[in-house]
Amino acid sequence: MRTSAPIQRLVAALRRLPGIGEKSATRLTFHLLSAPDAQVHELAEAIVRLKKEIVLCAECFDLTDASPCAICRDARRDASQICVVEEPADLAAIEAAGGYGGRYHVLGGALSPIDGIGPEELRIADLEARVRRGGVREIVLATNPTAEGDATAYYLAERLRDAGAKLTRIASGMPLGGDLEYADPVTIGRSIAHRREMD
């Protein structure tokens, strides 16, 4: 189909987004063409403002529109507890779950030597500096239970061993609604190893 340059340009731009193929990009483009001008301008402005206004929190390195972020500014949150996560999405998942009242530190990934990601590529020195400033009672290592995530947690535990804070690792085991029959042996093994007495 012959299409004009602006249409081709937007289709090409949308195709770069995750999960958007040629057909979806074309459908979205024609939807925008038929949408009211105000709606299109609102979308365009939202995209431009997203890049302009979102920064990293200078304290925890989460994405925020004001640094320090709302969590780091919130005096009701327990500043003596720092939960270390790999990515902002992990922080959002913990916040959505509720139940955690401390603060966070976003590493920006996990150690992955095969991909050339070592400690210098992560915000480990910033975490160390933050902990050594004092007032931290517990560091919750909430990196993912993958090989890289586990190795990162143990590496951090080693680096922060003498920092004077209690080091804890998030539990891993059977998920709610899970089925033992379909679980992998490591998950089952960890569930048994970390079983707890029933209240």
């Binding site: 030597p113 993958t146 090989a147 190795a151 143990y154 080693e158 679980a183 992998d184």
Partner: protein, 269 residues
């Protein structure tokens, strides 16, 4: 359609698109093999806890056309090598060995070469997982894996005349050192060494120890007597050998070097 049912070691996993993952596997029937695991990113039921670095799996792989990427249809976890995750230096050494194989092993080689490479890499990982990594252990495991890939340096015979480089040196009343020509991949005897040959000078004992290290079972590799100076020589030799014959630096090398140099990382579990 060809179906392969075998054991496989996961060397690398990368996300592909919204829901798939691509895994680099090492198997005893295909050597290195790149497979696509459809739906692995989204569905935890399809490949539950299996597609992670260093996991040893029982797999079923299908290849619909000879030119298409093989497809991982089923995977069952046999061993997760948990100690590698709990010790940063062991993890770093295992990453280094996995990267070595992932970047240097030829994809799709079958037969005895594939079986030997698979056995060597499993042996090396088992050794890395079970004890405190040291520069000596790193050099010996690296040499074993290089040899299994088919990149073993010559350690005894002169690469020009084929004679025992030790014997010719001794006959000439030379010192305990030997010239090693990195580009030619082995030692030069006294008679073959010409002025201006770009050689490293090594103790003969270092080459003998490395030769011995190639024959030792993996579970006894840490018993090999190799002092600090020969270890440093061996490491320098392997580093130069790798750079010359491979042409690039491994990404995981910097992290491993820093942990082995600091010597402060202790086992945590």
């Amino acid at each position: 359609m060809a179906t392969i049912e075998t054991q496989a070691l996961v060397l690398r996993v990368v996300d592909f698109g919204e829901s798939d993952r691509i895994a680099h596997l090492l198997t005893p029937v295909t050597s290195r093999l790149t497979v696509i695991a459809k739906g692995a990113k989204r569905s935890k039921r399809r490949f539950p806890g299996t597609l992670d670095l260093f996991h040893l799996l029982d797999v079923r792989i299908e290849r619909r056309r000879p030119t298409s990427m093989a497809r991982l249809e089923q995977a069952r976890l046999l061993d997760a090598w948990t100690p590698l995750r709990r010790h940063p230096a062991r993890f770093a050494l295992a990453c280094y060995l996995a990267e070595l194989v992932d970047r240097l092993a030829t994809e799709g080689t079958g037969g005895r070469e594939a079986r030997d490479l698979f056995a060597a890499v499993l042996g090396a990982l088992r050794a890395a997982a079970s004890r405190e990594p040291t520069p000596r252990m790193r050099a010996l495991l690296e040499l074993r894996v290089l040899a299994a890939i088919g990149l073993e340096p010559e350690l005894r015979r002169c690469v020009r005349c084929g004679r025992d480089a030790d014997a010719s040196g001794a006959a000439a009343g030379e010192s305990a050192k030997v010239a090693f020509h990195v580009a030619e991949g082995g030692p030069l005897c006294v008679g073959c060494t010409a002025v201006g040959d770009p050689c490293m000078t090594l103790h003969r004992g270092t080459l003998r120890a490395l030769e011995q290290g190639l024959r030792l079972p993996f579970d006894r590799i840490d018993r090999l007597a190799l002092g600090a100076e020969p270890t440093a020589e061996a490491r320098a030799l392997l580093a130069r050998f790798l750079r010359f014959h491979v042409g690039f630096e491994l990404r995981s090398e910097r992290f491993l070097d820093s942990l082995l140099a600091s010597g402060t990382v202790r086992a945590l579990a």
